[in-house]
Symmetry: C2
Subunit: 288 residues, 2 copies
């Protein structure tokens, strides 16, 4: 383990994910501070003992003393923040993030940072349908995956440190992917699934449906409760990869449609068998 | 309550659902028997005290003494069974089922039955991704919906008795729908969702996906583990209603596709907001 708990960690953006990071790292004995916009979030986190210090404004001391800074806000704010405050970060510090789409942003942030400060991107694949530090919990990391997303500019040390962070937080698996491969995976596993759930929810306005619903519909649309600002940004940031995956899904759905239309029971069953076989591999694995 | 626990109830088909019925009704003090093909299912159910009597063959005594018969097998076997054994059922008995698609089968069964025996159809919207009486549990009825599906031939008494059965089993809500309206609802809420999950699972053969999956993909594809014999039959039984709902979904998905392709953030957010608003109404309500 490169990551020792004598490091000072600053969380920028204390929402559901930032708050859950703060809880986990404080529990493990790290000194954790936070900068976030809302007074009530800082007050809550201090009262709960999730953070040791916090501020709602840019705080030169908190930024300057941090060994690791975790950026847990929207991608477009991330860039602005680094442009304006990058000079306050101390030499040797490591910057990481939780952004769900990597693409250009990783390269852009790396290009923006002053010499001696390394940005190593990561994607913690954890979340809930609720928001805010008040809903944060380390339980979201149980059984979940954490992906480190380095470029050629990253050092082996930073990759190892960032992986250690994933294990320390309590993720079930930590892996390493290039930004391009990460975005391809995520377009399928995350953005496409949200596209489908939202489309399904918008496909019928029948007011009686709620009374006759079963668990299959509930499961399929759990993620249809969606933060439209965050997700429209993620969709557009990963637009090309997402369109390719939407094409692939539509092709598969059209095949199913044709098999129903043509009463092609053989094709239908073939797809169902393939689906069943593949799905079995996706069950959650717990650590340890 | 029309349904008193001095009634003798016969379950035909002791799988997950039939077994869960047997458990709930035995708990409530009913005399419950079962006919099912597998020796081990009967042995298990007797050993566990879920049923009082059982047989793997047509048993004239069990059929003849039953006040209520619950048919919990595939639709196409249902018709054959009634043709061959309808004459063994006692006058005044009520026959019900758990079939997921109603359409013609309700009218066909009603036409097949001897005078004095009434078939009142029902759809318990409960299930799990596992099969067999060994996995049966009354927990699947918690928070779930039960639909009584009468035709004009049914008596008010039978509709009430069948509703009582739903409440007795422990469902959160019991409602009444015509076969046609039931099938329209179910095409959207159940068959379409399974079509989508299977299509998504078949859309990518990338072997690395399992390592990077998150909960949104797991939730969306939970039902992609599917019994291909049962579901291909349900799809084809409800073919016309299903194709209409598949069309509606495709139209909605195409709209989302266009908004991503055209970078139409306004339309994308509009869909996401509608989706979020509607989905909030579908959360599970617990009874009491």
């Amino acid at each position: 383990m490169k990551l020792k708990n004598d490091k000072k960690i600053l969380i920028v953006g204390l929402g559901l994910l930032g708050g859950s990071y703060a809880r986990a790292l404080t529990e493990k004995g790290f000194y954790v501070s936070a900068i976030t916009r809302s007074d009530s979030s800082i007050e809550y986190a201090l009262r709960e003992g999730i953070i040791a210090a916090g501020s709602t404004k840019i705080d030169e001391k908190l930024i300057g003393e941090a060994d690791i800074i975790v950026f847990a806000l929207y991608p477009h704010i991330f860039k602005e923040w680094v442009k304006e405050n990058g000079h306050l970060i101390k030499k040797g510090a490591i910057l990481t993030d939780v952004t769900g789409v990597k693409g250009n942003i990783v390269y852009e942030i790396q290009a923006l940072l002053p010499e001696g400060i390394e940005f190593i991107s990561a994607h913690p694949m954890a979340g809930r349908e609720v928001y805010g530090v008040e809903n944060s919990t380390t339980a979201i990391f149980n059984g979940a995956n954490y992906i480190v997303v380095p470029t050629e500019k990253n050092s082996a040390e930073a990759i190892e440190l960032c992986s250690d962070l994933g294990w320390t937080l309590g993720f079930a698996d930590v892996s390493v992917l290039t930004p391009e491969r990460h975005d391809e995976m995520i377009a399928f596993l995350s953005q496409l699934t949200h596209c489908i759930a939202v489309s399904l929810m918008c496909a019928s306005s029948d007011p009686d449906l709620t009374r006759y619903t079963g668990d299959s519909f509930r499961d399929l649309t759990r993620i249809a409760r969606i933060n439209e600002n965050m997700w429209s940004e993620l969709f557009l940031e990963n637009r090309e990869a997402l369109l390719l995956q939407m094409d692939a899904f539509r092709e598969s759905f059209d095949k199913m449609y044709a098999s129903v239309r043509d009463r092609d029971e053989k094709e239908m069953k073939k797809m169902m068998r393939l689906s069943t076989e593949r799905r079995a591999l996706f069950d959650k694995k717990q650590r340890g």
